[in-house]
């Protein structure tokens, strides 16, 4: 097989000019000779570093990665819009890039004239555009408006027309940059159908997207770019999985640092033996007893902030009584991001009678199966008297995230199954929506 796209050791370095450093005056710039120096790039920014991949003709490659990881730069390199600083990029066949739909439409002239000019810009001859004109208009569903000036179009019409022209260039290699994110549902489906048709006809597609489902469903291969380098390449499912894992890890780190801030803030300095009795937003109480630390522990026994739905969870409170207490209650509450209380209980409700709290200790609240749907949740933890007088109340101070492979909605996922009888037949396995 001849590779349709061959990128080998491509590196793209952008120059960055500092806007802050201005010439004091032209005279001083000339006198000190700093004119030349100031015009030189201040720093270099490597958008893509040593990226190599090949796409065989007829295959579809998905490129995933965070914002700023170099995806679009790779696409521009393949499209030939920019040249690599080092390394090489080779493409066999006609390329059409869906980077920005309708780039180059002139607002004052009609859709018809713009279709012609846009088609010619994308490499068609006038005759070829004329031959495909009917098809383009039909695809864009624009028959009624094609003779109106483009400035009167809605943004949806504008996009549809741009997409229709670009797709009817009939490229051998199609480059798509997240254009599907902007259309309505029906249009997105139409685009996907068109891509599928492209695939059937043995065309090569390079797809840059944040829609991981689309990559899994649609692509033959995937690469994951991270900081301008290829982190993983190969089977889309595997690449997407390792990408998701990495995203979770960094979210984890972010939540952890937030949690650290909330606990570090109101805590008294070390060695300070006098009980601290202030109150800050989210934390109040007399501090006769204190919650020193709250940890969320997943099934693997380590503290975490992201959990899979249905896994066990332990909430561990490290506590210290600044004087011996006999009237105390431990409480736990979980709310979702909208502030809806999902569950709350305490040792009093659960009919546990306090005996004695002195010195340091630990209270562990164990959930066998955390059946919450995907989303962000906040945690309350508290020690108070049976009549509600707070020793130390932490309100919504701890954040954790639930992940799920299922896309159910709501708050709580009851254990469930489906059963069918009679004429209803279903099989397992689903098409994941894009």
């Amino acid at each position: 097989m001849i590779p349709a796209i061959e990128v080998s050791h491509a590196t793209k370095v952008y120059r960055r000019y500092s806007g802050r450093r201005q010439f004091a005056t032209l005279k001083s710039a000339l006198l000190t000779g700093s004119l030349i120096r100031d015009l030189r790039p201040e720093e270099r920014f490597t958008a893509v570093e040593d990226v190599s991949f090949g796409v065989e003709a007829g295959r579809t490659l998905g490129i995933i990665g965070r914002n700023g990881s170099g995806k679009s730069t790779v696409l521009k390199l393949v499209a030939g819009i920019t040249k690599p600083t080092s390394g090489s990029v080779r493409v066999n066949g006609r390329v059409s890039a869906l980077i920005e739909l309708g780039a180059g439409f002139h607002p004052e002239i009609s859709g018809r004239e713009n279709v012609f000019i846009n088609g010619i810009m994308l490499g068609l001859s006038k005759r070829e555009v004329a031959r495909r004109f009917g098809e383009i208009v039909e695809f864009a569903e624009m028959a009624d408006f094609i003779d109106a000036p483009v400035k009167t179009y809605s943004s949806g019409m504008y996009m549809r027309l741009g997409f229709a022209v670009a797709i009817h260039v009939d490229p051998d290699v199609l480059l798509v940059d997240e254009v599907l994110a902007v259309g309505d549902e029906a249009f997105t489906h139409k685009c996907l159908d068109k891509f599928a048709e492209f695939k059937r006809r043995g065309k090569t597609i390079l797809l840059v997207t944040h829609s991981l489902g689309l990559v899994e469903r649609f692509c033959d291969d995937a690469i994951w770019l991270d900081g301008g380098r290829v982190r993983a390449a190969g089977d889309p499912r595997r690449v997407v999985d390792s990408y998701i894992t990495d995203v979770e890890k960094s979210e984890e780190a972010q939540l952890a640092s937030e949690a650290e801030k909330t606990v570090a803030g109101p805590r008294p300095s070390a060695g300070d033996e006098t009980p601290w009795t202030g109150s800050v937003e989210g934390r109040w109480g007399s501090h006769e007893a204190e919650i020193l630390d709250v940890q969320l522990v997943g099934p693997d026994g380590t503290a975490a902030h992201i959990f899979q739905s249905g896994e066990p969870l332990e909430i561990r409170l490290r506590i210290r009584a600044n004087r011996p207490l006999e009237d105390f209650v431990f409480g736990i509450g979980i709310s979702n991001a909208e502030g809806v209380r999902c569950y709350g209980t305490n040792t009093d409700i659960d009919e546990l009678t306090p005996v004695r709290l002195a010195g340091e200790g630990e209270a562990v609240f164990r959930i066998d199966s955390l059946d919450l749907v995907e989303g962000t949740y906040k945690l309350d933890a508290a020690i108070h008297k049976q009549d509600g007088y707070p020793y130390d109340y932490h309100r919504l101070l701890y954040t954790f995230r639930m992940k799920s492979r299922t896309r159910d909605v709501g708050i709580y996922r009851p254990r469930h199954e489906w059963r069918f009888a009679g004429g209803a037949t279903l099989t397992t396995g689903s098409q994941k929506p894009g």
């Binding site: 521009k76 920005e100 780039a103 002239i109 006038k126």
Partner: protein, 263 residues
Amino acid sequence: MLRRLGQLFRYRGLVQSLVARELKARYRGSVLGFFWSFINPLLLLLIYTFVFRYIIESRAPKHDPYALFMFCGILPWSWFSASLIESSNSLIAGGNLIKKVLFPAEILPIAAVFANMVHFFLGLPILAAFLLYYGRPLNVAELLWFPAVVGVQLLLTLGLALVLSALTVHFRDLRDILSNVLTFWFFATPIIYPMLLAGALERRLLNLNPFTHLAISYQEILFYEGPFGHWRWLIALGAASVGLLLAGFFVFDRLRDSFAEEV
């Protein structure tokens, strides 16, 4: 580079449609539309005629009507100066295309030059009508030189347009510098005054200005009687313009890769 120039030829259809788009878009929405291309030079000519007949007395003998003499130079000058101003801005204005579409960037300044050439051509019938009305002798042998003069001006303008458009991307100050330079350049060219009023020293300085030879060529062919005597200068300027165009394309080609980043 030659391959690039060949590629350019393939894109002539695009230049054509961009020029057509430019002209269509310019008059879209106005009642008289395309007729403005005729009306503008016509009104200009009428104003000059009025001024030089009733207000300012011309010092130059045998330059009657003086407005017509000036118009022979002003019409090509408008093409020249508007082309340079528009093309110097063309890459920045077309930034969207350069960044998002694989697109030969030189098309943009070239289309600007050609769009203004069309305006120049649309002004010619007005000029011709007035020349005939005032009974200026139009010599067929001289008129054969006219396409050559237009061709030399086209080469010169294209060369400058390519360099200016490429450099303006990096040094935006050029746009403002250019408009001032063009004002100076206009008065440093024998357009509103005839060359024969200039002294020996001024004449030598004026000869250094390439547009002097274009203006004189137009005036000799269209306005003055007698055979076209400026052809040596014209051919020399033509040769220099070819060199300038190649140099301009070379500079443009060298800077090409930076456009998508700097625009």
